[in-house]
Symmetry: C2
DNA sequence: ATGAATGTGGATAACTCTTGTCCGAGTTAG
DNA sequence: CTAACTCGGACAAGAGTTATCCACATTCAT
């Protein structure tokens, strides 16, 4: 899985707690990561429709939906793309005993097992929203969101 | 996920239906894939202890356990390695508001969610054995295993 | 013993994907 | 209108994957 997924989830969590557009500069500074590379991942989020890009001065990114309606799965898919991890290359159709066209109307047994496992993985990620993440974080570090919100509003970009 | 996983699962399914050592040459020919590259993946299976390598003439590979005791997860892990797909880089400890050492005794919320999803994925794969795969295949194409077994025993390597 | 068949490990090359950086186009506040 | 600030896509560099080949040790039949 792409490492940018971690950055994107953290950024979306921050965005769900923000009230005004947050520029990439602040997101990168807040998380201590490269600004230019983070921008690339934010583009993917914007392209997927998860976040809205506000251009121009005082612009930045906004979530298009409330945090309670954005699942971790949405973010992972926006960054890593929709392709499944396992790709069946249909080797059952090769070799001296190729599968009949009749049997190939159904995905091969191995592909079915892999697809089922990926569905289980996706269902698990779908069941967690940004609101859940933020609630858990606030429970472990009370008041942190207030600090971050204040920093976002007050700190001028140097 | 590595593409070699598909080859490895197919090969293990064949091995679980075989009674004598099957050399890489036959496995590759049977599946219509590159012999040299398949040899690399078989080495990985051998290293993991899933299969036993018989050297010398009339050698080949044998499963070390019956097919009913080998799960698809075992094969995936042997080929792709034990590292999880998601690696937490602890960016919560960076930036102007690093997480306290107290909070870091527990994995960050995002890592927990990802780990839980990967467990669900692994559990799904663990629940399917080579025997299950072979039974499903035999139901869709009755008698195919007999054909393959005969070809393995009779065909001399050219 | 000899030769053929077989797995093992290393070295190597092409290719793809991820990672990372840069500069330009467009927008908005003042 | 100007100037600053924003996103957006094009552009390199690095790492990992995919794929191949060969020299070597081992085993069995002749």
């Amino acid at each position: 899985m792409s490492a940018g997924v971690e950055w994107a989830v953290h950024c979306c969590a921050v965005l769900s707690a923000a009230t005004e557009p947050v520029p990439v500069t602040k997101l990168a500074e807040l998380h201590g990561v490269s600004k230019t590379y983070l921008a690339k991942h934010m583009q993917a989020l914007s392209h997927s429709g998860l976040v809205q890009a506000i251009e121009g001065r005082d612009g930045g990114y906004l979530l298009t939906r409330p945090g309670s309606e954005v699942s971790v799965y949405d973010i992972v898919q926006a960054i890593d793309g929709p392709e499944p991890a396992f790709r069946c290359t249909e080797i059952r159709q090769r070799g001296p005993f190729p599968a009949t066209a009749e049997a190939c109307k159904v995905p091969c047994g191995i592909a079915q097992v892999m697809a089922k496992a990926e569905r289980a993985w996706g269902d698990s990620l779908r069941s967690v929203t940004l609101a859940d993440l933020n609630a858990a974080f606030d429970a472990s570090s009370p008041g942190s969101w207030e600090t971050v919100r204040g920093w976002l509003a007050a700190t001028p970009t140097p």
